[in-house]
Structures are given as C-alpha cells and as structure tokens.
C-alpha cells in the first residue's frame, strides 16, 4: 500500500506541474526587479525546482506510481497524457541534468544579461521534455515536443553578441522547423490512415488493417524523422555539431543529454504503443517494419558520429559528434525490438534507457567541464587543453572519468550501461548490431583519450593562467563525476528499474 492512493490522479503529473510553476516563479522573480540580476537567487530557484521535480519523480518511482504494483499506468485527460514508470524514469534524467546545468550556469552566466529568461527557458524546456515523456497522443507529443524545442532555440542563440551562438541558433531553428513540419505531416498522414491521434487507438485501428499502407509507411517514416531530429540521429543530425559547438556550453550539455533523452522517451512510447511491431508488420498485406529502419539509422548514426569525431580539433565539436554516436547506440533500443521478443524487448529498451541515464551524467559533466574551460578563457581546441591537469587536477580527473566512461571503459558507469545495451541486443539476436557498436566504441576510445592526453601529458604551449575557481561549475562537475563512478557498483537499481518499466510498454 502506498500513500499515493490518497492523492487525486492528476497529482501524478506533479513533476511537470512543479517544473512549470518554477518556470513561472522565475519569470515572476525577474519581473519583480528586472534590473538587478540576482544570479544566486535565480539559479537557486531553478535548481530547487528541478531537484524538487526530480525528487517527486524518484519518490513516485520508489512507490511504484503508475506501475503494475499500484494498478498500472495512470492515464489522464482522455488518454492524452499517461504517467508510468518510463515517464518517471525519464523525468529523473531530465531533472537531474537540468539541476546540474542550472547550478553550473550560476558561474557561467555570472556576467550575462537576461538571466531570468535563461533559467525560465531551461525550466520550461525541461517541462516540455517531462510532458514528452508522458504524452500518450500524437497531439500532445507534437505540442510537448515544440514546448521543448522552442526554448531550446532561444537558449542556443542566447549569446546575442556571439556570432557562433547566433549561427548555431539559426541552424538549429531552421532544421528544427523543417523537422517539425515533416513531423506534423507524418502525424497528419497517420491520422489519415487511422482517424485517431491517441496512441492506443491508433494501434487498435491499425490492428483492424487498412488499405493505405503506403500512406501509413510514409507517415511512420516522417514521425521517425521528427524524433531523429530531437535525438540528433542521421539524417536529421546536421544541426547538432554546430548547435552544440556554438551554444553556451551549459546549453550544449542540456541539449545533448536531456533533449536527446526526451526524444528517445517519446519515440519509445510512440513506436511501442502506437505502432506495435507485431501489428504494423502485418497490416493490410504490407509490412511497416520500423525496427529495420532504426537498425539502419543506428548503424549509420553511430558510425558517422564516431568517425567524424575522430578527426576534430575542437573538443566541444568532438563531443558534439560523439553525442551523435551515442544517439546511435541508444537507437539499438528500438532497432533490436522483435515481433516475438517478449521479455527481450523490455530488456533491450530498458538497457537503452539505462544507457541514456548514465549518459546524462557523463556527457553533461563533460560539457560542463568545457563550460569551465571556456569560463577560464582557455579556448576550445585540444591544444588549448594542454597541461590543464597541472593547474586543475581535480577537474581534470573528473573530465578523465567522463572521457573513459563515454568510451565505455571500466571501471566507470559507461562500461556497464554500454555492456547492458550490447548484451541485451545480443539477447534478442542482434549480435551484429552489438558488434558494430563494439567496433565503434573501440574507435571512440582514440579520440576520447586525446582529451586525456592533452590534459595530462602534453605541455601547455603558452603559460596557462586559471583565474577563478567557479564553485557552481565545480559542484556540478564533481557531482556528475561521482555519479559516473558510483554507477558502476550501483548500476543494479538503475538497470533493474529501467528494464521493469520498459517491460510495461509491451
């Protein structure tokens, strides 16, 4: 018996509500006195809000809200939203990333204008992501996706005087607009075929079959495209390198970790609930086998990401490409789903979620380290990183942890999450996907270790001076590093939860 039974059902959306209120509160604070920029207060409020939402989500998870143990998923507002284990799990990812980002921004934005807007945008975007995780209808999917995207555009272009930031914002926006158009068209096509937008109903009507298989296929493909944009997967990835490189580093962290995860969250739900593989592979003589589609995307994405990352001179851009590569790994979660998979489907999907969870820590940490280096004004290329370890050993050690963990080396969290992913892929018979992934992570080791090499082994070309010791950034980075390390011994609960909640989708 859990205390939740005593609450009304809408309370299940508490995380989203809390986030939304926080966002409003931030705007309020900013309007009360728009001139003085009380950075600490703003950052504090944002972080508190994020942590509160995360805490609630965690509490729900522990209490089993929306899971079998308490009577299954809680669906609200005419099935437009649904709160279940998966949405809560992803909420945890979004909020923790958001918290780290807001804390880090405390230093990063110290002498920027419009801080109130910044934090509120971050929080609103987080709200959108949370809703993406919950949305159970193509309509809410589209809306929440836009709610997450629009603030992101603004955040990327936040540094109005910085050409890089503007260019990044422009590209992100244009590609985003295009993708959302494609996405919307896809939705319209699916509606045309099924006459409904609510995911289960779509599935139901598909189960009865249709003669417009071609239209359905096109629609599915375009919807997949919309998600591919959000997750920075081929061929909708083009915005990612520039956006991540040009955007303020905390924003890059936010986008590459949380936004990507959000894209996967909604993709997982839409494709497993609205287009169950066993249904769509036998619809009206056609076979819309989207797992094949994602298998192709996964292979292309991880390969392209890793190969392109291998030859970058700019650490930030290298990380951008590596984050494309990781999108490829995560796609395995969808690619390895089979019609007769049963438990294996839940395992691989859960493994993908667990990987995104760990990725949330190590990748955010890595980008925040870059934020710190930018703060120090050292530059973004590998050469600029030479010898940092001699000045800031702790931060450098943290970055080393992130790099090796991203490469999937033990003894760090990335090893188990990646292993779990490949292991479950093998478990559902996609050993060749796992093999490709393994080869790619071997290559990735090369460019990740370049960063380590620069920091520890190379001699600084010019005498490097490190000014401040930004507290907020340090806190965030060390938090991320500790998380990354502890996720090796403590991986058990993560993978367990992820796979349980994923299994609930099938």
């Amino acid at each position: 018996m859990t205390p939740l039974q005593t609450l009304p059902e809408w309370a299940a959306t508490a995380p989203a509500i809390v986030l939304a209120l926080t966002g409003l509160a931030l705007l309020l604070i900013d309007t009360i006195d728009p001139d003085s920029t009380n950075n600490g207060l703003l950052a504090g409020t944002a972080t508190l809000g994020a942590l509160a939402a995360g805490g609630i989500a965690g509490w729900f998870l522990i209490n089993g809200t929306g899971m079998e143990s308490t009577g299954g998923a809680i669906s609200l507002y005419g099935d437009a939203l649904v709160v279940d284990g998966m949405s809560l799990f992803f909420t945890l990812i979004f909020t923790s990333v958001a918290a780290m980002v807001t804390v880090a921004s405390y230093d990063y934005l110290a002498d920027e204008a419009h801080q109130g807007e910044f934090y509120s945008l971050v929080i609103f975007a987080t709200t959108g992501m949370t809703l993406m995780g919950m949305s159970n209808s193509l309509a809410t999917v589209f809306i929440s996706l836009e709610l997450a995207s629009l603030p992101s555009y603004a955040l990327v272009a936040f540094l109005k005087k910085d050409r890089g930031s503007i260019e990044a914002g422009l590209k992100y926006f244009l590609i985003g607009a295009l993708s959302s158009a494609v996405f919307a068209f896809g939705i319209s096509l699916v509606f045309a075929v099924t006459g409904s937008l609510v995911l289960p109903e779509v599935a139901a009507s598909l189960a009865e079959g249709t003669e417009l298989v071609g239209v359905l296929g096109l629609g599915v493909l375009m919807i997949a495209g919309g998600f591919a944009f959000k997750t920075a997967s081929v061929p909708f990835h083009f915005w990612a390198p520039e956006a991540y490189e040009g955007a303020p580093a905390p924003v890059s962290a936010f986008l590459s970790s949380a936004s990507k995860a959000a894209g996967f969250a909604v993709a997982f739900r839409v494709f497993t609930v609205a287009f169950p593989l066993e249904t769509v592979t036998a619809v009206g003589g056609g076979s819309v086998d989207w797992s094949l589609l994602f298998a192709v995307l996964a292979v292309v994405t991880m390969t392209l990401g890793n190969f392109a990352a291998a030859t970058q001179n700019n650490v930030k851009r290298m990380l951008a490409y590596s984050s494309i590569g990781h999108a490829g790994y995560a796609l395995i979660g969808l690619a390895a789903i089979t019609t007769d998979g049963g438990a294996a489907n839940g395992d691989v999907l859960g493994a993908s979620m667990a990987h995104l969870f760990v990725y949330g820590f190590m990748n955010t940490g890595a980008f925040l380290f870059i934020a710190m280096v930018e703060k120090w004004g050292l530059g973004r290329t590998f050469e600029d990183y030479n010898g940092i370890a001699s000045k800031a050993p702790i931060a450098a050690s943290a970055m080393t942890v992130f790099m090796f963990s991203l490469a999937g080396l033990p003894p760090f969290g990335g090893f188990f999450s990646k292993y779990a992913l490949f292991e479950s892929a093998i478990g559902s018979g996609f050993w060749w996907l796992a093999a490709v992934g393994a080869v790619n992570s071997a290559l990735s080791l090369f460019y990740y270790s370049r960063v380590v090499k620069a920091m520890w082994i190379e001699e600084p070309s010019k005498p490097l001076e490190i000014g401040s010791q930004p507290v907020g950034l340090y806190v965030a980075i060390i938090f991320a590093a500790v998380g990354t390390v502890l996720l090796l011994p403590g991986f058990q609960p993560v993978i367990e939860t992820a796979q349980t909640v994923a299994a609930a989708l099938f």
Partner: protein, 509 residues
C-alpha cells in the same frame, strides 16, 4: 577476506601517496608497499588450496557474493587464488616494491602522482590475478591500463605520447576483441550457467553445454571464441606479430615502469591465455596446436633476431621479452605437466629476470643518460658492482643453470618435447630452443661492447658506482632468481598441483 584487504590496503596506499608532498612520496610509497608484500607472503605461507580454481579445486581465501543481475547472467564479486595465481600475486607485490625503490633516482617530478599510480596499478594487478568472476577480472584488467597509460605518457621519453597512445589503444582494442569472443562463448552456453563466475563457465564448457550462437555451431563458436580471445591475449603477451607496441612502450617508459610492464603486465596475457583459452577450450586449443606452436616458435626466433639488431639496451631487452614469452606459449600448448607448469613458472622467472635486466639498464642509464650500445664501453671499469650484477642477470636471461630462467625453460622444453598434441612437437621444441643460442649472442655482444673493453664514454657525465638504493633492488632480484633456480619447488609444486587438472580435460564437443 584477506584478498579484499590486500587490494584495499594497496588502494589506500595509492590514495595516501597521491596527497603526499612530492619529496616524501617515494620513501612513503616504499614503506606503504611493504604492506602488500607482507600480506602476499602471509597468504603464500597460509596457502592451503589444491587443484585448479576453475576446475573444481578448492580455492584459497575465496569470497563469492552476488553483485549485479545484468541481463541473463549475474555478476559476482568472486576472488580467490590457486597454485597458478598465488606465485603471480607474490611476484606482483615484490616487484612493485622493488620498482618503487628503483624509481627514486630517475623520477624527479610529480613524484606523488607517479608513485600513487604505481601503487594503483599494483592494486589492479592483484585484482587481475585473484578475480574469479569474468567481470571483476575484466574491470581490473582494463583498470591496469589506465595507470600504465599515464606512467608512460607523463614520465616517459621523447616519443612518450606516441608510445602511450599506441599501447593504450592497441591493448584496449585487443581487450575488446577478447571480450566479444568470451561473451559470445557465454551466450553459447545459454541457460546452462547463471553467472559470469569463471569456475561455473569452465565447468559448463567441460560438461559440453556449449550450444550454437549467432548462427555458429558449438564447434565453430568455440573456434571463433578461441581465436578472438587468443588474439586479445596475444597482443598483451605479446606474440609476434602483435608485439610492435611493446618496444615503443618499453623504450619510452621510465625504467621502473618498464620493470612493471615486462615483469607483471606481460604475464597478465599469458595468465589469461592459460585461464581462458587453454583451460576452458582445451579441445579447440589442441585442434589449433599447429598454428599456436608456429606462433610460439616465431615469437622466440623472430624476437631474438630482432633483439640482435638493436642498438638500444632497452630495445634489446624488450625484444628478448617477446622471445621469452614465446617459450611460455610453447609450454602452454604442450599440455604436459612440465610444459604448462613450466610456462607458469616462466611467468614468475621471466618476471624476476626481465625486471632485473631493465633495472640494470636503468641504473646504467641513470649515470650515463644514454642507452645506446655505441655510446659507451668499459663501463665495468667505473661501475663494477652494477656491471657484475648485470652480467649475472644476463646469464640468468641466457638460462644459466641454477637460476630461475633455466628451470623454467628446461621445464618447458621437456614438457613440449614429450607433448602428445602433435607428432612434430619435438621439431618445434628443437626450433624454439635455438633461441638460447641467439639470446646468448646478443646479450654477450651487448655486454662486450658496453661493459668491457677500455673505458670510453661519449658524454660529459662522470661515471661512478650507483648509489646503494639503486643497486639494492638488483641484488634482491638476483638473489630471488638464484633461490628460485636452486629450488624451483618453492612455486613449482603448487603450480603443478593447479595445472594437472587442466591436462586431464577431455573433449567436450
């Protein structure tokens, strides 16, 4: 719990050393590193196991607690030692301590980090040799590479960056291939196992539980996995032609690191070969006897001939390591008590002797600041003690009787000659044994040019006898070499005890 204690103490020692000021780090690291030495010697004295840890023998100091349920198979924290790992544990602790002492002179900057990393590496090495769950083992296995990467990269010679990255990426890719091979094997076992505990897996394989996987029949799967794992470990050993990272790493690494690299890290490869390939897939190994024996002979002769062509003392010893490790492979494939036992004994013997040689080269380098044979001659005139130990060590390397090297090599030759895996084993043995002539060749040439003849030195350092703390480790190693050579049974009995079960393994599929 003693193993956990051993590893934990070493980890703590590393952490303590990290935070110490540079000027105390060396001495402190030495003092701290005595704890694991004592611990391992205590273990050896208390050692009461029998049989092979993977094949149902009773395991000494065993711990086994469930850790992770990851997908289909559980991961346990399982550690313990048997006759194969016990000597290597002792070797690791002793060699680390000596290496630390030998590092006092050459390491002049960022000492606390250096010695901390040395201890960190020791802790991981202890983990590698004691872990009995695949994942625990693999985590330590990989974790060894990180300190090594920094030790070469930060404190190394002029081309250290290239050497470090090469070593790191090369060995990591090898580990990955090995990892894939082993995992596919595990999946081939299907539901017949419930965890990654090596004993469980080995016994399941023996029980013929291996099924088909990824469209491969059991036999094919075994072959593929065997090849993948062999490749992975062969890089580490290293077996020619996968050895090219070794000379670079050795030449660039500071001497104490070379000592650890040649003395212990290479043994990880042969240890793993024995534990995985030759214990878990004996039938496949026997089926591959011909190529493996060829590789072994190739490594021995090729490595020795390459050593003959070198001008850099360190490169000479580095290539001769390739040669010596070839003997180990030959002994392993022999599948006889003396063959496999001798191979295991050679791991310890070569650990001591190669460590001794590298240290000796290092001591000379500390004073001359060059390792080029052509740059000096008649050093023995100014550094008699060092030269004397150098000569003794060199003869140990040539397999002089009553020194550990001879015992190991003779065991291997005897075991390989009478092996039944192939009709032609005697021929391969004979071919490999020619290594003892070539090794004598290049070591004698090197000694004649550097140590003997009229004193000549192209350099402006005054050559005097090395300080006590440089020579002491050499003396200790020499003593150990002779002790092991005079009574190999110190380790050989327990080694045989652990090795013999492997020889009885029949065909599982």
């Amino acid at each position: 719990m003693i193993i956990e204690a051993l590893i934990a103490v070493t980890f703590l020692a590393a952490l303590v050393t990290f935070v110490l000021p540079n000027r105390y780090a060396g001495k402190a690291a030495f003092a701290l590193s005595l704890a694991p030495v004592v611990g391992s010697l205590y273990m050896w004295q208390q050692y009461d196991a029998s049989g092979n840890a993977l094949l149902g023998g009773n395991i000494a100091f065993e711990t086994d607690v469930a850790w992770l349920q990851l997908g289909q198979y559980d991961i346990h924290w399982m550690v313990g030692v048997d006759g194969i790992s016990m000597p290597l544990v002792v070797l690791t602790t002793i060699l680390t301590t000596l290496a630390i002492v030998s590092a006092w002179t050459p390491i002049s900057e960022r000492q606390s980090q250096f010695f901390g990393l040395m201890l960190l590496m020791e802790a991981n090495l202890l983990g590698v040799f004691t872990a009995l769950d695949f994942f625990v083992w693999f985590i330590f296995w990989e974790a060894v590479l990180l300190p090594m990467y920094f030790l070469i990269g930060v404190w190394g010679g002029p081309r250290r960056k290239y050497a470090a990255i090469k070593f790191f990426v090369y060995t990591n890719i090898a580990s990955l291939v090995m990892f894939i091979g082993f995992i596919s094997l595990v999946f081939g076992l299907g539901d017949s196992i419930s965890s990654f505990r090596l004993p469980e897996i080995a016994q399941a394989l023996q029980a013929g539980q291996l099924g088909s996987f990824a469209g491969l029949s059991a036999g094919a799967l075994a072959s593929v996995a065997f090849v993948a794992m062999f490749f992975g470990f062969a890089v580490k050993v290293p077996v020619a032609p996968l050895h090219t990272w070794l000379p670079d790493a050795h030449v660039e690494a500071p001497t104490p690191v070379s000592v650890m690299l040649a003395g212990v890290l290479l043994k990880m490869g042969t240890y793993a070969l024995l534990r995985f390939n030759f214990t878990m897939l004996p039938e496949t190994a026997r089926a591959f006897a011909l190529p493996i024996a060829l590789l072994a002979v190739a490594s021995v002769i090729y490595g020795a001939l390459l050593a003959l062509a070198q001008q850099d003392l360190k490169r000479i010893v580095a290539y001769s390591s390739v040669s010596s490790m070839g003997y180990v492979i030959l002994g392993l494939i022999a599948y006889t008590t003396y063959g496999v036992g001798g191979a295991t004994f050679q791991m310890v013997a070569h650990g001591l002797i190669s460590g001794l040689m590298f240290m000796a080269v290092g001591v000379i380098y500390n004073t001359t600041h060059t390792r080029m044979v052509s740059d000096m001659s008649g050093i023995a005139d100014r550094m008699p003690v060092t030269a004397g130990i150098f000569v003794a060590g060199a003869f140990g390397y040539m397999g002089l009787p009553l020194m550990a090297g001879f015992a190991a090599e003779f065991f291997i030759f005897k075991g390989a000659f009478e092996s039944t895996v192939m009709e032609a084993m005697p021929l391969f043995t004979g071919a490999a044994m020619f290594g003892i002539v070539i090794v004598a060749g290049y070591l004698l040439f090197a000694m004649q040019r550097t140590l003997f003849g009229p004193f000549r030195f192209d350099g402006d350092y005054d050559i005097t006898e090395a300080p006590f703390h440089d020579v002491a480790p050499l003396a200790v190693l020499l003593l150990l070499t002779i002790v092991l050579g005079v009574s190999p049974d110190i380790f050989f009995t327990m080694i045989q005890d652990a090795v013999n079960p492997i020889l009885e393994l029949g065909g599982a599929f």
